[in-house]
């Protein structure tokens, strides 16, 4: 990852005989809190993962909760109590997530403070056209279009998956398109961009400049090119602002993890009296086969 050249001076400082030691620092104990994780897909089953936080010293292999009581509402109308599946997952199979609706969740568990949250679901944005182009020896470029509603502020996420015969596996992709603001540029050295390096989300803020045509590319080495007829699936997620913030904060969190001296970043959470995320998305996808 060439962007790391940016940190040449930092590396230089480290070369000045820096060293690493293990520390004995007293860590204060913390009371556990509920952790709610749920990304609701429109037209999908309602699923929620519930666990509790654990302090640094009290590491346990599994913090998932099986005894949580979860109440979920749709447009403030009670849908029911979610049923425990396994490993902290709860679901309500009787209902699919509706678009343009609001969902409220309230989770309680013995000895833990009750946590709650709310999210609005959104509509799917279809991919209008998709095409590909081989560039040079090792690049495969995909170009696609979709209709963004310019009146409202929209957030999106793109995933590209390659078919392996039995399933789709994710593929790393890059883009010099301005909407990613350099986050997916291979050669970018901008410090700010690299804090978000690898983020696949974007806002429609810059779409007005370029229209709604987006190009991404992959390297052949990533694309399992031994297969003569390679199938790819491009997924366009229309996501809520909380989803966008969560994805970006997670990316910054991990990118910054190995960069010392940066201020700490926490994960975005919209859970009251707890941790986690309760957000939604609507997905559109197109497949394309490269002969």
């Amino acid at each position: 990852m060439k962007f790391r050249f940016l940190f040449l001076p930092i590396c230089f400082l480290f070369l000045l005989s820096s060293c690493e030691d293990e520390l004995e620092v007293p860590i204060p104990k913390e009371e556990p809190k509920l952790v709610i994780n749920s990304l609701l897909g429109v037209d999908s089953v309602l699923r929620v993962h519930v666990s509790k936080s654990s302090s640094f010293q009290n590491q346990s292999s599994n913090n998932s909760l099986s005894n949580a009581s979860i109440i979920i509402k749709e447009n403030n109308q009670l849908l029911g109590k979610m049923k425990f599946e396994s490993d902290g997952w709860y679901s309500l199979n009787s209902n699919l997530v509706l678009k343009n609706s609001s969902y409220q969740i309230e989770v309680s568990s013995p000895n833990l403070e009750t946590a709650n949250s709310e999210t609005e679901t959104i509509e799917r944005i279809d991919i209008e056209t998709i095409s590909y182009q081989e560039i040079g020896e090792d690049k495969l470029k995909f170009t696609f279009q979709f209709n963004d509603n310019p009146i409202q502020e929209n957030y999106y996420m793109i995933l590209l998956k390659a078919h392996t015969g039995t399933s789709y596996i994710p593929v790393d992709f890059y883009s010099d398109n301005i909407i990613f603001n350099g986050n997916l540029s291979e050669n970018s050295i901008g410090i700010k961009k690299n804090m978000l390096y690898g983020s696949r989300t974007f806002s429609d803020e810059n779409l007005k400049v370029n229209g709604n045509t987006i190009s991404i590319y992959i390297h052949h080495s990533n694309s399992n090119s031994s297969n003569t007829n390679q199938e790819y699936k491009l997924e366009l997620y229309h996501i809520t602002p909380d989803y966008f913030k969560y994805e970006r904060s997670l990316i910054v969190f991990y990118n910054r993890d190995d960069l010392p001296f940066y201020n700490k970043v926490n994960l975005h959470s919209n859970i009251n009296a707890g941790y986690g995320i309760f957000a939604s998305y609507a997905i559109a996808s197109e497949t394309i086969t490269i002969p």
């Binding site: 060439k2 050249f5 040449l8 001076p9 930092i10 400082l13 480290f14 000045l16 005989s17 820096s18 060293c19 690493e20 293990e22 520390l23 620092v25 860590i27 204060p28 913390e30 952790v35 994780n37 749920s38 990304l39 897909g41 699923r47 993962h49 936080s53 302090s55 640094f56 590491q59 913090n63 902290g88 040079g136 020896e137 994710p170 301005i178 603001n181 540029s185 050669n187 970018s188 050295i189 410090i191 700010k192 978000l196 989300t201 370029n210 969560y246 904060s249 997670l250 990316i251 969190f253 010392p260 001296f261 940066y262 201020n263 700490k264 970043v265 926490n266 994960l267 975005h268 986690g276």
Partner: protein, 862 residues
């Protein structure tokens, strides 16, 4: 009835005063411009009807040149009678001209104090009347003025590091005397003059320290004479992260320090991410650090003022020096262009690591080349038009550049990429000094300050048999530009009063970031020009230093600042007050109150001093930072050279900013208001300082005990927590020993208790944003600054070996940073460890920079 009598009496008294005064307002008209005094008085009597009565001391035969032919009586009397020798008393229709006894007559003495060898003006030199131990000090341009009675007196002019001069003087009229002081030939004398309290002189020293650059110790990395590292010897001053990222004063952030280089505010003051300050010691003459009790002429930042003055240049002869160390090479040349009239001072510094790295890459025949360098250029031109007029032009350019080039060879094509990252300051000031009269000195400055940050990415591709073709280009620019016009005056009516007043108007242009993007492969091109944020600032200030009796000195003043940005208007009246009282020749107590306002916020995301840090003006949502500081202290002089001081401070700040828990970079340049939270901070501390500044052994010992807290409504659940600069104990000791003329050494030890740190100490389950069925574990933090880093301590050693040669002095310097190889924690993080069974555990790791680090440098002064 009583009321009537009182009113009648009052009216009668008023009429009496008016009738007395009205005779002085009678209009006069003269036919000639010149008269003998007795004729003139007679003519006045005829025209105005007043009678004159005077003593024989008045020389009535002298000829008087009239300044005008018409005017009132009062005007003419003040012009024709020497009011310093005669009192004018008006009573009914008579005017008495009463001679003042010679011992009571006062005349002003003014001029400039300079170094006799170089002609450099000396700042804060003291002028003391040995008769009664009253006096004054020279200002930032070496100008002084004060009054003396008409009798033979001894004036002592002194400046640390220079031979005292005693001048016998019998003033008979207002006199201008320029004084040149001879430097003492004592090597390595530390010129800490802040606590030099030749008491009773009109010298304010509350919460301030002064340092001259020629005695900087080699305390920076690689033997550099780094200014910021020298400042940490003072109480209340500490480095932020082992020399990285500026300095901290009384628990304030580095962004709250106003750094002035020849009156120009400097926005980015570090090279190499904060490892070195941008100030080349070769170009610096004088540095003053003010931590509290701020005079009204300073403002704009809330924690401290670092007033740096560049050398003017030698007025007598050409001189200079050069040096080469492990990291940088420096060159300085100064001298007269026209002797005693026009001088210059030129200093250049450059790091040369990139040249070495480039050579290594070339030797290795690498596809990648790159490097980093920083450089500084200081130039100052001074011209003296007359004894009363002087003009100064000073400029500074300094910058850092990182560049990386990469060539990727494929079977039939080639791709070349180039990345550049650069940042730097460009400051200019044009100043005009004018001595209006013996009591009034003026300085008018026009100032330009610019800071620029630049990113350039380019890609070229070349197919077989073709030339390279540019197919990708990206450019980003951000920065700030200031234009300032400032006019300030020193008015010294007598030795007990010193007034400073002036105005300042500034235009700030902030460029949050403009981008040019061009992708020829995809035929895409866009230019996103940021909107320049223009803000205007108008400042009026006035301060008055008054000596009450022999023991009490008070400085009071006020600063009115107004700030206009995009339709939002802020205005603040900042009162300032400081006082010092001499209880005893050896004891002085001090106290102060000051309010400071800061209209520019530094948006930063790191504890390092990064070039991406952005200065942004206040908005309608983000309000200016206000700080109220109270200090109280005592000073004790054991002897002329050994001084002790103790000072307590209490600071309250509001509208300080902190990034919210979940901020992340999403157009910080435009959306920064939404990523920060405003809160309050309060700090208090007790500082002790013991210093010895004369003799072969000199040194300084400082200890500070302090506490500092912050509170933000939406951070840390609204609970109070330790500020990032809450170092409870801070101790430093510095020892300088002169062995002989050729050898001297210095030893410095600093200790600081651990700074607070935020560490992730809670584990939560997190859902993958890409695969909502995947759950993993992520450590997060639930409280801010809950941990303490381990204590910090370090010892540095530096020794100089000099050889006096025919044309100059050669010096070898050997320095050792961190003599006993202390591993101080610069950064602490939590590491996830997995054993062979897949069980995850977490440990705390510390990263230490700058272990035992020896360095050597060679310099030659001619």
């Amino acid at each position: 009835m009583r009321k009537f009598i009182a009113l009648f009496s009052f009216l009668l008294f008023s009429f009496y005063l008016y009738s007395q005064e009205s005779s002085l307002h009678k209009q006069l008209k003269f036919a000639n411009i010149s008269y003998p005094l007795h004729e003139l008085l007679h003519e006045i009597s005829l025209q105005s009807g007043v009678e004159f009565s005077y003593t024989s001391e008045l020389n009535t035969n002298q000829y008087i040149e009239l300044p005008a032919l018409t005017g009132n009586l009062k005007y003419f009397l003040n012009e024709i009678i020497d009011t310093k020798a005669f009192k004018i008393i008006s009573k009914e229709n008579k005017i008495f001209l009463v001679g003042i006894p010679p011992a009571e007559r006062k005349y002003s003495i003014s001029g400039f104090i300079t170094d006799s060898n170089t002609g450099e003006s000396l700042i804060n030199a003291s002028i003391i009347n040995l008769e009664n131990y009253t006096g004054t000090i020279s200002n930032n341009f070496g100008f002084y003025s004060f009054s003396l009675p008409q009798k033979l007196q001894q004036l002592q002019i002194s400046y640390v590091g220079y031979q005292d001069v005693i001048i016998p003087i019998l003033p008979k009229q207002d006199t201008s005397i320029n004084i040149a002081l001879e430097p003492k030939n004592i090597l390595n004398e530390i010129k800490v003059v802040a606590d030099e309290k030749s008491n009773n002189i009109n010298h304010q020293f509350v919460s301030s320290n002064t340092l001259t650059s020629d005695k900087f110790i080699n305390s920076g990395m690689f033997g550099e004479n780094d200014l910021f590292q020298n400042l940490i010897q003072f109480p209340g001053v500490q480095s932020s992260n082992e020399g990285l990222g500026g300095f901290i004063v009384r628990n304030g952030s580095p962004a709250q320090n106003l750094i002035l280089l020849d009156d120009v505010p400097v926005y980015y003051s570090s090279h190499l991410l904060g490892l070195f300050s941008i100030f080349n010691s070769d170009a610096i003459k004088h540095v003053k650090l003010i931590k509290g009790g701020f005079p009204a002429r300073y403002g704009g930042r809330i924690s401290s003022v670092l007033d740096i003055r560049m050398k003017d240049g030698n007025t007598k002869k050409l001189g200079g020096d050069f040096s080469i160390g492990l990291l940088t090479a420096k060159f300085n040349l100064h001298g007269p262009i026209k002797k005693d009239k026009t001088t210059f001072n030129l200093s250049v510094r450059r790091s040369y690591l990139d040249l070495l790295v480039k050579g290594i890459f070339e030797l290795a025949d690498s596809d990648i080349t790159g490097g980093y360098y920083f450089g500084d250029f200081n130039f100052k031109l001074t011209h003296k038009f007359s004894q009363r007029d002087k003009i100064f032009f000073s400029t500074y350019w300094g910058g850092d550049l990182i560049h990386v080039k990469n060539t990727d060879q494929q079977t039939t094509s080639k791709e070349k990429t180039e990345n550049k990252l650069g940042w730097g300051n460009f400051t200019n000031s044009l100043r005009w000094n004018h001595v209006y009269n013996n009591h009034l000195f003026g300085n008018t400055s026009f100032i330009l300050s610019r800071y620029t940050f630049l990113v350039k990415d380019k890609k070229w591709s070349q197919n077989e048999g073709e030339n390279f073709k540019e197919n990708y280009k990206y450019e980003f620019r951000s920065g700030i530009r200031d234009f300032t016009l400032k006019s300030e005056f020193d008015w010294i009516p007598d030795s007990k009063h010193y007034l400073k007043f002036g105005m300042e108007t500034s235009l700030h242009h902030t460029k949050p970031g403009s981008e040019i993007y061009q992708n020829n492969e995809q035929n895409e091109q866009s230019t996103s020009n940021d909107q320049v944020i223009s803000s205007k600032e108008l400042i009026l200030f006035g301060e008055c230093q008054i000596q009450f009796g022999k023991n009490l000195l008070i400085n009071m003043g006020s600063r009115w600042s107004s700030f206009i940005v995009e339709g939002t208007y802020y205005s603040t009246l900042e009162p300032r007050f400081s006082t010092q009282y001499h209880l005893h020749p050896k004891w002085t107590i001090t106290g102060s109150f000051s309010q400071m306002t800061q209209y520019l916020h530094l948006v930063t995301s790191s504890t390092l001093s990064l070039p991406t840090d952005l200065w942004l003006p206040v908005t309608s949502k983000i309000k200016p930072i206000d700080c109220f500081q109270y200090t109280g202290g005592a000073n004790y002089a054991f002897s002329k050279s050994i001084k002790f001081s103790a000072e307590y401070y209490h600071k309250l700040s509001r509208n300080i900013l902190e990034f919210s828990d979940t901020y992340f970079f999403q157009n910080v340049n435009t959306d920064w208001e939404n990523t920060v939270e405003a809160g309050k901070a309060w700090s208090q501390g007790l500082e002790f300082n013991l210093s010895k500044n004369k003799g072969k052994t000199t040194g300084n010992m400082a200890y500070t005990f302090s506490k500092s807290f912050v509170k933000y409504p939406k951070i840390n659940e609204g609970k109070t927590f330790a500020s990032p600069y809450d170092r409870n104990h801070d101790f430093s000791i510095l020892l300088n020993q002169k062995i002989n003329k050729k050898v001297d050494f210095s030893l410095a030890w600093v200790y600081g208790s651990g700074l607070p740190a935020t560490l992730s100490s809670t584990n939560i389950s997190t859902i993958s944003p890409y695969y909502p069925e995947n759950i993993s574990s992520t450590p997060i933090f639930s409280h801010r600054n809950e941990f303490r880093l381990p204590d910090y301590h370090r010892m540095d050693f530096s020794i100089n070996f000099r050889k006096f040669k025919k044309h100059g002095v050669r010096t070898w310097n050997i320095s050792i940073n961190n003599v006993y190889n202390r591993k101080n924690a610069n950064y602490v993080s939590i590491r996830e460890n997995q054993n062979q069974f897949g069980t995850t555990s977490y440990t705390l790791k510390q990263i230490s920079l700058f272990a035992f680090l020896p360095s050597v440098s060679y310099s030659y002064k001619f």
